[in-house]
Amino acid sequence: MASHGISRSEYAAQSRDGHRREKELKKIEEYNQLAGAVQERRLAREYNLEALEGTTRLLKINPEYYTIWNYRREILQQTLLSKHPSPGIPLPPASTSARTCPEVNETGQGPEEVARSLRAAYTSKATLHLKEELAFLLPLLSSFPKCYWIWNHRLWTLQRATEILPADKADIFWQEELGLVGLMLRRDVRNFHGWMYRRFVISNIESPRQKNVPGDEVENPSSMDTSLVEQEFAYTTKMVQGVGGMSNYSAWHNRSKLIPRLLSERKCGKQERMDFLEDGLFRPLFSPGKCLQKDIELELLKRNISTNPHDQSLWFYHRWLIYSNTITLDRNTLDAISPFMTRGTKLLMLAAEIGTLEDLLETHSGCKYILKALVEYVGLLQRVRKDPKGPEDDEEDEEGLTEDDEKKGSEDRRTWLAKLISIDPMRKGRYQEILRSLEN
């Protein structure tokens, strides 16, 4: 890791330099001694603060040594971050803080109070140790940002907070971690590890809170109080608006995962969902609740796509919007914005989108993404047309969607595919395959 970006010859030249070589040999010697000593303690199953200190020193030099991280966790579990003994069992004095015990005895409190104050003392100590552990990791992370073991240990530490601290205290740790994720994603906006870490942190903030809503007071613990979905949705909006945000695959993806939850939490009805989809198709970035009165004419995904139709990330998102709302699998309704549209509405929506794309193709005749989308969406349109009519379907909706259209659609697809074959020869075979399937 530390040798990234240094060529072998450069490195060899450096070690030929006697002065430097001598220093390096000394370093290696010291490292081997330290590693040996720590391993010895590990084999002897020593779980004490001295051993912990050994791992600290060793890991600072070599954070890739995952055995030592394992050992460190074993030590922490038995020392600084050990669990508070469950309240039912009398506490052996030795296992808790030596300082608090005499106090307890002197004041002669009742056993419940004793337990409470012991718990408080334990909580504040454990909080301190958790903080120290996280603080130890931070400089390591900035020197070795890509070392999985450090991240792994960080998550373990945070999860340990959830395990050993009262929920409200653990929550503070996760909240602070969210700040760190924000910082990282500001630096590296498209880093999907960062986005994954963010989702992980969010779920750790959300889920304990949900458990904590006292079930007897509220019948259905409203997820609104504990959910961060609105906040996260707004975050993705901000991210896709930032410099380079348009091609932030992770932000668009996260958005597609958040929206279904968002709508069910907002308790959106059928019409509201359709409105959102219309906005989503055209204005995916705008959050309906807030800005309805302004700029309704903006068609934002359209704006994004018309600005740079060569940006693949937009098409992924577009594809999700179209597919999830036209092909609805009942068990999977949660993945869509407006899953219950009538066949007629779906057809009209598809026709509208296809029209928009055809217009776009006029200005960007050589853009393969537009052509690919058209081929797919016209196919989708033909597929939806074969769906059985529902009771709500209006004859009127079918207007203009005749057999002629069907023929024209297939013809158009052939033309587009031919064009794709010429401008995107790398995927020629695939286009030819689709062409063949059209013949049948």
Binding site: V243, Q271, E278, F286, D295, D359
Partner: protein, 588 residues
């Protein structure tokens, strides 16, 4: 400025290289040649560093310089005018605390100069500040003029497309009429009056979730990313498509694998930016004005060729989004005087690497060393009476006792304005979650159809160039502005002092409370034609251009000279191994 006249005589008469002058190129060369093991003597006839990139640290220093300019003793500069509106009691006294820099350069993140400073381990020697957005002054009427596709349409056969698109659009419009029939009408009704007009007259920065582009009065942020374009309120979808395509073109014109873009570029090298943008990527004229402002060329868009514009636009676009923590910035600037500070730090670095630099000591004459005193090729007589010998002598013609004639070519008006007003809007963060606040901004007041624009580089008090409460405008038609604190506006333009002042006024009108200019310095930079040194070993440097950003040709010229002297460009500015080791040990 200190008086160094009682400095003891030079320790040596014999040098590998004599560098006369302490400007940017001279100082870069001094560091590089010292680090390459040459013995280097760097002299400057002035008692201050920087030459034409100097900074003045008090108003009395400015006065001395102005007197020199107006008596014709400052090569390449004429017509210096100082206007001071502040009385002695205005708390501004002798003007100490101001740094009036002749070279408040912007440095692009992807510029070769910054790249070399990084490699030379010198970036830590400066206090860098982010340059915020570019703002261009455009009235509502100007923004309303639509694009005129003249039908040349080289790229995508636009001509034929025009008619067809119009037909299709109407047809599609019918077909598309509302799949979402249940949508409440009211929302649509509210839409219409919105438009882009609501913000006129407001002095508050416009910014909300609907657009990433801010607007203060008639000053509009220049769109330079795909996101800006997608979110702009002033563009139609069609404009968006064209502008998006143009952004892509700028990033690819130089890519040999993209034959289409290279071909368009080759065919249009000499086409003016204005013509190119109206014919090949038809976008509205106001966008052409905005895009042209990113080139930082203070000429009318009709006089900027594509060949000049594209490399600069490419640097701008490729730098955007790359600076950690200020992704909305493309450039940086050095505090305490911009490139004036650069010259001083570099000269110091040269001294650390073994060179000697001496101020107030000019070269009186330079000739080939024919009589054979020692082995050096050149013999120089200094104004102090000393004689020195060197193999190479590097400097601008006027610093090497060569003749310089003014040319009749273009001249550039420049101005530095000290103001005391609220121009905080220029320095606001574009995105709230960025944790660095810009300390400079670029404001462009276009010069109409044929006129040259005025560039104004505003520098906030954070740059350390004003006493605690003001900000400076620098006029290459450029401005430096400040918060309620004083600020500086630097202005740069090819046009007159009058146009420059008018542009500054436009900016000040937007500021509240209404501000007057506390102090201004205006001067004219002229192109000169230097005599070329005939002696073997004499290297005459081109005079520093009046560019607003530090251009790559500054480095290119020094690299060329370095190669001539050292024999290779490899290792330019690299820290020698012994020094690196010493440093390592000190750190340990």
């Amino acid at each position: 400025m200190n008086d160094f006249s009682d400095i003891p005589p030079l320790p040596l008469a014999d040098w590998d290289v004599l560098i006369s002058g302490t400007g940017i190129k001279q100082s870069l060369l001094a560091v590089a040649l010292c680090r390459a093991g040459k013995t280097v003597l760097q002299l400057d006839k002035n008692s201050y560093y920087g030459g034409s990139a100097a900074a003045f640290y008090s108003l009395s220093e400015v006065d001395a310089w102005v007197a020199k300019v107006n008596s014709g003793d400052e090569v390449g500069i004429k017509n210096a005018v100082v206007v001071s509106n502040a009385g002695e009691g205005a708390g501004y006294g002798s003007g100490r605390g101001y740094t009036l820099s002749l070279a408040p350069h912007l440095v692009y993140w992807h510029s070769s100069v910054l790249e070399i400073l990084r490699r030379a381990d010198l970036t830590d020697g400066f206090s860098w500040h982010a340059v915020g957005s570019w703002w261009v002054c455009l009235t509502e009427e100007e923004v309303a003029v639509p694009a005129v596709a003249t039908g040349v349409g080289g790229v995508v056969g636009l001509a034929e497309v025009g008619v067809k698109a119009a037909k299709l659009a109407s047809a599609a419009g019918k077909k598309r009429a509302g799949w979402n029939k249940g949508r409440k009408k009211e929302s649509v009704a509210e839409t219409t009056p919105g438009g882009g007009e609501e913000s006129v007259g407001e002095r508050v920065t416009q910014g909300n979730s609907e657009t990433t582009l801010r607007k203060v009065d008639n000053f509009r942020e220049v769109p330079c990313t795909f996101e800006d374009v997608a979110w702009s309120k002033d563009l139609t979808d069609k404009d968006r498509g064209q502008l998006g395509e143009f952004l892509r073109f700028v990033m690819r014109y130089n890519d040999p694998t993209d034959q289409k873009c290279s071909r368009i570029f080759e065919e249009n090298r000499q086409t003016s930016l204005r013509t190119f943008l109206s014919e090949i990527f038809p976008i509205p004229p106001f966008i052409t004005t905005s895009i042209s402002s990113l080139t930082l060329i203070p000429s009318a868009p009709s006089e900027i060729t594509l060949e000049q514009a594209l490399p600069r636009l490419a640097v701008h676009f490729s730098s955007l989004g790359k600076i950690p923590d200020v992704r909305s910035s493309a450039a940086l600037t050095i505090a305490y005087g911009g490139s004036a500070e650069l010259c001083q730090v570099l000269s110091r670095a040269a001294a650390i690497a073994g060179g000697i630099n001496v101020l107030s000591r000019g070269v009186k004459s330079l000739c080939s060393n024919k009589k054979g005193d020692g082995n050096r090729k050149l013999k120089a007589q200094l104004e102090s009476g000393e004689t020195i010998y060197a193999d190479w002598a590097i400097g601008e013609a006027s610093d090497l006792a060569k003749e310089v004639k003014p040319l009749d070519g273009k001249s550039m008006s420049r101005g530095i304005y000290v103001i005391e007003t609220q121009i905080g809007w220029l320095f606001e963060r574009k995105y709230k979650d960025e944790n660095i606040t810009p300390a400079a901004a670029v404001v462009v007041v276009p010069g109409g159809d044929k006129g040259a624009p005025v560039y104004i580089i505003a520098r906030s008090g954070v740059t350390g160039e004003c006493p605690r409460s003001q900000c400076e405008f620098s006029n290459l038609k450029s401005i430096v502005m400040s918060l309620i604190k004083p600020g500086l506006l630097h202005a740069v333009t090819e046009s007159s002092y009058g146009d420059m002042n008018a542009a500054i006024d436009k900016v000040l009108q937007v500021c509240s409370p209404l501000s007057e200019i506390l102090y201004s310095l205006q001067y004219t930079a002229v192109t000169t034609s230097p005599e070329i040194g005939s002696e073997d070993g004499t290297v005459i440097l081109d005079p520093l251009t009046q560019d607003i950003a530090l251009q790559d040709d500054v480095l290119e010229e020094t690299l060329r000279i370095y190669e001539r002297i050292v024999g290779t460009r490899e290792g330019f500015m690299d820290v020698p191994e012994e020094i690196r080791r010493m440093k390592e040990e000190m750190e340990e």
